[in-house]
């Protein structure tokens, strides 16, 4: 296999051997692991297609992989075979500033897209915490979110079209550069398809103007309940902040060690709140012309608020709500450096959990936002019951929880407790009308949990969606849908401590 693939690409871009198999046996979700036979690093779409066609001809499973920062095992080669790494597909191909779009290869790190257009006052809005490393292709596969998706929407709202190699090795262009084209929304399936519908190799993404005014505040609360009730109240009040993030004490301990945040000692929860406003030229551009016949030519239009006025107004509104919910302190970032410091602490917090224990499993359930207070109480109760550590850092504004269990993966008992606790939390999310995953994806981790949320008929409809692209069992097998043929018996092999 290695030799033949080496002929298709070049020998030095086909990796194999014991060390390689080990290094690629999982992503950032470490509970399930499975080794590939080899790893290929194609340079362009044609090479990806050649590899896929070879795999199809020889009935070898293949699994696409970006940076391997996924949190649900999406890049794990479940049935072995070939891992198709996009890390050499890492170029910006085209920038169209006038139409605010950019074409890049799938393996480029998310942040490098924004860096490439920063000088034009634009950025790529989806900002998962892993954005300095996670790839565009991975973000597309998982339909990644991030703190600012509260206001700007998740990845699917920012992808115009993709070039992808379908599961049979044919190259398809899907989507249109002008959004909203008529026809079935196939792009809507591919974004969030977790790499099971084909291998995305290139994409045109939308670029969004960088906000003209931003205010970032860190509010601290004595109890979790004060903080969660404050979040629910902010949302219910009708203001949509750019971001609304919560950190509990467990996270604060790790984050403080790493990033030295200042907050009152008696605080049990922090809220990171950001409000922003678009540049003036962007606002109101879309408003329909005032009707010719009905408009009063003498009417004096009121002065438009400047971006600064807009954010100050929103901010004072939000601060008032925080105060009404007994905030102990509210600190404003005084400059961009302070703001960046807060965001680095927030975005790298999950990584800092290694300060607490050798392994973490981060859950990703999402619930209606008004239920946050009771849900958080439940999370702590579950952790206590199973005697495992839990820290919460999450997108409160979206109702997207990230209870992060920290444990020692070398102890099978702890692994088991973590899995059980996770299921209890997920079940509660579903019973509250929420979902098993807000942004991390199903992967191998949660495919069994899907049956808690969907009936067999619901799942059959999803299987039909998959079938539009993928008839076989070769393209990223055993992911997303439960009980796939040939996968059930492998489950035991992946899981546990025997790798």
């Amino acid at each position: 296999m290695v030799e033949e693939l080496g002929k298709l690409l070049s020998p030095e871009r086909v990796l194999s051997g014991e060390a390689v198999a080990r290094a690629y046996d999982c992503d950032a979700y470490t509970v399930d692991r499975s080794k590939p036979t080899c790893v290929v690093l194609p340079l362009d779409t044609a090479e990806v297609a050649a590899v896929v066609r070879w795999c199809v001809a020889h009935s070898v499973p293949f699994t696409p992989r970006g940076a391997g920062t996924g949190l649900s095992g999406g890049a794990m080669p479940a049935l072995g075979g070939v891992v198709i790494s996009t890390k050499k597909l890492n170029k910006v191909l085209q920038i169209d500033i006038e139409n605010r779009m950019l074409k890049a290869q799938a393996g480029i790190a998310n942040k490098r897209i924004s860096d490439a257009v920063a000088e034009f006052g634009l950025h790529f809005a989806p900002d998962p915490s892993s954005q300095t490393v996670s790839t565009l292709g991975g973000n597309i596969a998982e339909n990644s979110g991030g703190p600012h998706t509260l206001k700007y929407g998740v990845t699917t709202q920012h992808i115009l079209s993709v070039t992808m190699v379908d599961p049979l090795g044919e190259v398809l262009e899907i989507g249109s550069l002008v959004p909203g084209a008529p026809g079935y929304d196939l792009l809507g399936l591919i974004v969030g398809g977790e790499g099971t519908l084909g291998v995305v190799t290139e994409a045109w993404v939308k670029l969004t103007p960088v906000p003209a005014a931003v205010r970032t505040a860190l509010a601290s609360f004595r109890t979790i309940r004060d903080a969660t009730e404050c979040v629910a109240a902010i949302i219910a009040s009708g203001v949509i902040p750019a971001a609304l993030e919560m950190m509990d004490k467990g996270v604060l301990r790790a984050v403080t060690a790493a990033f030295k945040l200042d907050y009152p000692a008696e605080a049990d929860a922090l809220l990171l709140i950001e409000v922003d406003a678009k540049p003036v030229s962007e606002r109101n551009a879309a408003i329909p012309r005032p009707p010719d016949t009905d408009s009063d030519p003498n009417a004096v239009s009121p002065k438009r608020p400047t971006p600064n006025e807009t954010v100050e107004k929103e901010l004072s509104h939000v601060i008032a709500i925080c105060n009404a919910h007994h905030a102990i302190s509210i600190d404003m970032a005084q400059n961009e450096a302070e703001r960046q410091k807060l965001w680095v602490a927030r975005k790298k917090a999950i990584g800092a959990m290694g300060r607490l224990a050798p392994s973490i499993v981060t859950h990703d359930g999402v619930i209606p936002r008004s239920r946050l207070p009771e849900m958080l109480d439940f999370v702590y109760a579950v952790a206590e019951k199973h005697k495992i550590g839990v820290a919460n850092i999450f997108h409160a504004g979206d109702g997207n929880l990230h209870p992060c269990f920290y444990f020692d993966d070398r102890d099978p008992k702890q692994v088991e407790a973590v899995i059980e606790a996770g299921e209890e939390i997920i079940k509660r999310c579903i019973s509250l009308g929420g979902s098993v995953s807000g942004e991390h994806g199903i992967g191998v981790e949660k495919s069994d949990l899907l049956t808690l949320m969907f009936t067999p008929d619901d799942l059959r409809m999803q299987a039909m969606c998959k079938q539009i692209f993928n008839d076989g069992m070769l393209c990223n097998p055993c992911k997303v849908l439960p009980n796939q043929k040939g996968c059930v018996e492998h489950k035991k092999r992946w899981r546990g401590v025997g790798w």
């Binding site: 169209d96 002008v178 026809g183 974004v191 969030g192 005032p290 010719d292 209606p368 929420g434 009936t455």
Partner: protein, 374 residues
């Protein structure tokens, strides 16, 4: 019963009467529950399901028109003249001939006179639940968009698309009789799209009846969700060719967060047009790249009715046999001009759509011909 609900009742009955009288068909099935829809779909062999009020937007080749309007055939034959006009027409011609073939086959197996079952579920309506604090509403597919907006505004929320007044029923969205399911199936551009998104972005969950009568749901009530494939996205803009939308969970917008226009929230301003009798006119909706938009506006000139810079969309009145200039990558949706209403010219998309149709509706039961898929 409040005034709005009473109005709703009267309107529904009036529409049913008018529908029966004008179309001279048997009384449509009155569906009041999701199970009703499921039963009807399961037992029917041919279903027309975008309601009467939207016929202006549909391809005449879809089952609805193919069965009802004889003049249809003439239009198909007119197309022979297009032979040399490039790839787009060629595709269209192939598509039409495929439709003719299908119609022959259909008549042979089912007999020529059998009318399609008209799904008419304006009685499957109402807000199931409005979670105001979460800004989420669960609503039946047959609910009129207008009455949904009325309900939401009571809680200082809305769906962020401009309202229209009754006289402009035909412009843009279909007027007071437009249902949520139809609006989603049609997915027409609107003027707040760039700021507030479209149905695709607002739908959090959906219940559909598939071609075999299966009731299946997708999504959840949470505002963010990646559990499984986004199956509900497939039904947005699909014109009921893959399944029947019977219930949707929508994200609502606080009025306070709507874009402001001259210091006033835009929602109360209806889109207004010079000509109030749009219902008889042919509408041309074109969306281009930003860089082409001024040229497109200039080209539309006197025909221009309305435009939205942010989404680079223009609305113009163009006779059915005329066209405005096209631009690279743009797309056009028209009304009142038969086969020209909608053209899907991307061969990859067309092929995959055919494939999706074969999987979701293997017996070609749901609006066959609509969107060019059979």
């Amino acid at each position: 019963m409040d005034a709005e609900a009473r109005y709703d009742e009267v309107l529904t009955e009036a529409l049913e009467r008018r529908y029966i009288a004008e179309r001279a068909v048997t009384r449509p099935q009155l569906l009041t529950s999701i199970e009703d829809v499921s039963n009807v779909v399961k037992n029917a062999t041919l279903i027309s399901s975008l309601t009467y009020s939207l016929s202006h937007w549909r391809l005449p080749s879809s089952v609805y028109w193919a069965r009802m309007v004889d003049a249809q055939r003439c239009r198909i034959e007119d197309m022979q003249a297009w032979e040399d006009e490039g790839e787009r027409q060629l595709y269209l011609r192939e598509h039409v001939s495929r439709l003719i073939e299908w119609e022959h086959a259909y008549e042979q197996s089912h007999g020529p006179k059998q009318p399609p079952t008209q799904l008419y579920f304006s009685r499957l309506k109402g807000v199931v639940e409005h979670y105001a604090a979460d800004q989420v509403v669960v609503v039946q597919g047959g609910t009129r968009v207008r009455s949904l907006q009325g309900e939401l505004i009571k809680a200082n929320q809305c769906l962020p698309m401009p309202l229209e007044d009754d006289n402009q029923a035909w412009f843009g969205r279909g007027g007071p009789t437009l249902t949520v399911a139809d609006a989603i199936g049609l997915n027409l551009p609107h003027a707040l799209e760039a700021q507030c998104g479209t149905w695709r972005d607002w739908i959090l969950g959906m219940t559909v009846v598939l071609a075999d009568g299966t009731i299946a749901k997708s999504g959840s009530r949470a505002v963010k969700n990646v559990a499984g494939f986004d199956a509900h996205k497939l039904f947005v803009g699909a014109r009921s060719t893959l399944g029947i939308i019977v219930q949707v969970t929508l994200k609502t917008f606080p009025l306070a967060s709507l874009p402001m226009h001259e210091g006033v929230s835009v929602l109360p301003i209806p889109m207004k047009f010079k000509d109030r009798s749009m219902r008889r006119k042919c509408l041309w909706i074109q969306r281009t790249r930003r860089s082409d938009f001024s040229a497109a506006l200039v080209a539309a000139r006197s025909a221009l009715l309305e435009s939205d810079v942010a989404s680079s969309t223009l609305w113009a009145e163009i006779p059915k046999d005329k066209e405005l200039p096209r631009f690279a990558g743009d797309h056009v949706i028209r009304s009142g001009c038969g086969e020209m209403n909608l053209q899907i010219t991307d061969p990859t998309l067309a092929r995959l759509m055919q494939r999706a149709k074969a999987i979701f509706d293997p017996t070609n039961k749901l609006n066959p011909g609509e969107l060019g898929v059979v």
